[in-house]
Amino acid sequence: MNVRFFSLRKREKEVFDFIDKQLSLTIEAVDHLNTSLRYLKMLDFEAFKRNYSEIDCLEKKADDIHRKIVEEICKGAFFGGIREDLLNMLEKVDNISDSAKDSAKILLLRKPEDKIINYIFANDDLMDFFSNCFMAVKELKGVINGLEKGKNFAFEHISTVEEYEEKADELKARVLNRIFEKAEEFNLVSVMQFKDFINIADNIADNAEDASDIVLILIAKGYS
């Protein structure tokens, strides 16, 4: 009986291992975005470009794994009642690496002038914003891995994801305000580029929070 019972978990365990891989790649992609920003701060646009190709590669790998997981779930892994929520959660995780890539792509379209870069990086708000996005994703990994360990483990991390997301939101507003305060002094295209870059990057933390909210739904459905 026990052997049969645990063999029922095999396929699902494999899916969870894949989810873990997808999350690791996503975290790496967001981390590379942080590195890219450091290059930008140093006005090294070539290094920024090189680093983008790393983000692009990681996003593709995460995407492939996401597709594999979706296939497994559609083939019948997991109980019917939670499949839809799992797929939604994975979609949110996939959106994180997409956002990391898309935001970097905005700055890649054209090199913003040094003046605006120096102005934006004059304080740490933008770097802090990205640190919070990164931490939100890292905590999300804890939330999702927690599903393998028990609901209390997941609960501990869910509130932390939310805290990071709120902090990221606050910092985003501060950075945007700062940019638009002196918008007339810069090239308008560069201003719009940074505005789009920050808005898209903000989706990293938003999607991490959305994914952790879905974990709450999974817990509510599964354990009630």
């Binding site: 029922l8 978990r9 969870f16 028990g150 459905k221 599964g222 354990y223």
Partner: protein, 311 residues
């Protein structure tokens, strides 16, 4: 006799079409087992239930409500049961084989003036009234126990538990249905077949016929009973289904025919009440309760009228 045998097989087919769709749906919609495997599991449950414990229902009608009956009365009971089961099933209304056949049996025998054992009849009706209540209570008890244990599980273990439980419970439900409901119909043709081998073969054919009914048309009734009535989590659905099967099996031990639909609905409410909040479709509930009373009454009247025509 050939007509009676044919009618019994047809009733089993319509019974499978109407009732057991509920339980096949759990397997196929959750994607747990393939269509073929779930069909085998259900058929196995029905056949084993009918073969191993179906004879306990042998005296549920003949020998309980009346001392004896006539062949023509038996024919009328089977015709009425078949016609009503078929009509309600065509209109996608879950109908209880026990209600229809007991109503028809009382009607036909009442028409020919046979004395009815009212004490036993009252016992059956009382059981019908108590089944949803018992089912709700058992579900609350089992749910509270399972939900407490489940808190310690990881989502993976819980998921595995749910999937294993669905397979076992669906088998058990069909086993109980085979024993109680297929056994009830078996009790109607039992006096006409003296050969014990033929009798067992006939039981297998009945169960296979019911399984064919499930395979062919099961899905629509599933939705009426399960999805449209109430919103529940997997653990609650599973505990309500298990309680229903357990209750039907217990009543089989006393030879009392009961309705799985009634038990399931009681169980579903029990599962909802266990957490004090529940979203249910009131109109759908009234429709189902109304149909229980109406079906038994219609079955009684129809059977009596047909009997009068034949007399």
């Amino acid at each position: 006799m050939p007509y009676i045998v044919l009618l019994a097989l047809l009733i089993a087919f319509v019974f499978g079409w109407n009732n057991s769709g509920l339980f096949k749906g759990s397997l196929t919609s959750s994607g747990l087992l393939s269509y073929r495997k779930s069909t085998i599991l259900i058929s196995l449950g029905l056949v084993l239930g009918a073969l191993m414990e179906g004879s306990k229902m042998g005296k549920a009608l003949i020998g309980s409500i009346t001392e004896n009956t006539t062949n023509i009365a038996l024919l009328i009971v089977l015709i009425t049961t078949f016609l009503l089961m078929l009509s309600f099933t065509i209109f996608h209304i879950p109908v209880s084989l026990s209600h229809v056949s007991v109503g028809a049996y009382v009607g036909a025998n009442f028409a020919i003036g046979l004395s009815l054992n009212t004490a036993n009849l009252e016992l059956i009706i009382l059981s019908w009234l108590l089944v949803p209540v018992f089912s709700a209570l058992i579900t609350i008890l089992i749910y509270n126990f399972i939900a407490r244990i489940a808190q310690r599980f990881s989502l993976l273990t819980l998921d595995a538990f749910n999937r294993l439980a669905v397979i076992l419970i669906v088998f058990y439900i069909n086993y109980a249905l085979g024993a109680n409901n297929v056994g009830l119909i078996k009790g109607l043709y039992m006096p006409l077949i003296n050969d014990p081998v033929l009798l067992e073969l006939m039981t297998i054919f009945m169960a296979v016929s019911a399984a064919l009914g499930i395979i062919t048309f099961g899905k629509r009734i599933t939705k009426v009973v399960g999805e449209d009535l109430i919103v529940l989590s997997p653990i609650r659905v599973l505990t309500s289904m298990f309680s229903s099967a357990l209750l039907m099996w217990l009543f089989t031990q006393f030879g009392i025919p009961i309705s799985m639909t009634q038990a399931v609905i009681g169980g579903i409410f029990g599962a909802g009440l266990a957490k004090r909040y529940v979203m249910f479709n009131r109109a759908m509930l009234y429709e189902v309760i109304g149909s229980w009373i109406a079906i038994t009454t219609i079955s009684f009247i129809l059977s009596m009228l047909i009997m009068k025509v034949f007399m």
